[in-house]
Structure formats: C-alpha cells, structure tokens
C-alpha cells in the first residue's frame, strides 16, 4: 500500500486533519487563544483593523499618504502605522490565519480553485466586501474585534453588536434567497 493511501485511511488523520472539528473544540481553542493574545499583546483579538493598516501601507508604498486621514491620525492607530508591518502583532496573526487556513485545506486534500458561476456572484461579493469593510471600520470592529472580543472582555458593546449582527443576518438571508435561488 502506498504511503498516501495508508495515511488517508489512518483514523487519527481522519479525526485531526480530514474531518471538521466539532464546534466545541473550536470554541475552547478560540477562548484559549483569546487569553494568550490578550496576555502577550495587551489587546484582544481583532482581524479587520489590521486589514486597514495593510491598505494604508500598500497605499503608501504606491506613493500615497494617509497622514491627514482622520482614521489614521489618532495616536494609537498612528503609532501602529509608523511601527510598520513587522512590528504589528495583528499583521503576523493575520498572516498566520491565511497560512493556517491554507495548511488545513491542503492537508485534508480539499484544495480547489473554484470557478465563478455568475456575474451576480461577483457583484454580490464586491458589494458585500465593501459594506463589511466599511461597516467594520465605522463600528470600530468586526465580528471578531467588536463582537467576540467585546463580549469576552465583558463589554456591553459586544452584546449591542450581537443584536444588530442578528438583524443584519436576517436581512442578508432574505436577500440571498431572493437573488440567488
């Protein structure tokens, strides 16, 4: 029997790499890593704020300047911007996120380039992405930074976010069924 066949039939390979982990395993790990993140970096976990820095660094690389933008003029944000990509824990974490997601899909041999099915999908993805990105910045957090990290640091704002997240999901589901079914 070839090695790849042997591995794919191994029960531990199936449990650890092939099949999706149970939700409870994910929940425990998320909590654990939230504590580690808070303890080591001094800030709770966030994802989308870092993407705004990536955008700013890319813009500066192309010769632009974000110095005068209100968003980047605030002290804490400006410090992270000036310290650069390699000194930003959020950037390292987001890289890890991408690398980890790629690793998990490759090891489960589930990697596939998916073809775009219709222009509707492209328009919905672009509009959805813009709304999510813009919304996350004016709300000062996404479903990780404002929702998960908010609630886990006992902030009321996280619960307010949860209510509107639910309402948004309801509207989104209706639109999805209306335009994609």
């Amino acid at each position: 029997m070839k090695l790849t066949e042997k591995v794919s039939k191994n029960q531990y390979y199936k449990i650890w790499f092939k099949d999706a982990w149970p939700y409870i395993t994910g929940a425990v790990l998320l909590s654990l890593f939230q504590i580690i993140t808070f303890a080591t970096t001094g800030n709770p976990w966030g994802v989308s704020g870092t993407l705004a820095y990536w955008g700013a660094w890319l813009y500066e690389l192309l010769g632009g300047s974000v110095e005068k933008w209100y968003y980047f003029s605030r002290a804490g944000v400006n410090a992270t911007l000036r310290n650069g990509f390699l000194s930003d824990p959020g950037s390292m974490r987001n890289l890890g996120l991408i690398a980890g997601a790629l690793f998990s899909v490759l090891i489960a041999s589930g990697f596939k380039f998916k073809k775009i099915k219709s222009w509707k999908q492209v328009i919905a993805a672009v509009c959805g992405g813009l709304l999510m990105g813009y919304g996350a910045r004016i709300a000062a957090g996404c479903n990780i930074g404002a929702f998960f990290s908010g609630i886990s640091s006992l902030s009321l704002s996280g619960w307010v976010y949860a209510v509107f997240l639910f309402l948004g999901a309801m509207v989104g589901s209706k639109l999805l069924v209306k335009y994609f079914m």
Partner: protein
C-alpha cells in the same frame, strides 16, 4: 423511484442547503437526490439537516474539495 441530480458546484453556503431542501419537497419517498458541492461547509450543514429530517445520507468524495451528497428521501 427516480434519481435527481442537483449541481451546486461554485455555490456558497447556504445556497446548496436551501436548494436541496426545496428540491426534496417536490420528490417522493424512496427517490434519490444527488447534490454536487465544492463548498466544505455545505458538506457539514447539508448532511446534518438531512439526517435530522430523517432521510438516509451518504457522502462521496469525488475529487479534492468536491463532494457528492446522496440523499434518499424517507417520508
């Protein structure tokens, strides 16, 4: 007893699930619905729902990141 194929390749969650639910409503007991998917979370929620609804479910891995969910309708 008939066999119906539902091609959901390239469709993201929860479209494959909703499409399968609607299709299954129009079918009779003993009929087989084959749902082709390439979205890994549909591989979790589609069989989960179908089993809860009392249907017989089998999953076949067609290729890397492609699956066929075979649902036998039970009334």
């Amino acid at each position: 007893m008939k066999e119906v194929e539902l091609d959901c390749m390239g469709e993201a969650c929860p479209i494959p699930l909703v499409k399968a639910q609607k299709k299954l409503e129009t079918m009779d007991g003993g009929d087989i619905l084959l749902v082709l998917i390439d979205h890994s979370c549909a591989m979790k929620n589609l069989p989960e729902w179908a089993r809860k609804a009392g249907h017989n479910v089998e999953i076949e891995e067609l290729d890397d990141g492609e699956w066929e969910v075979v649902i036998e309708k039970v009334v």
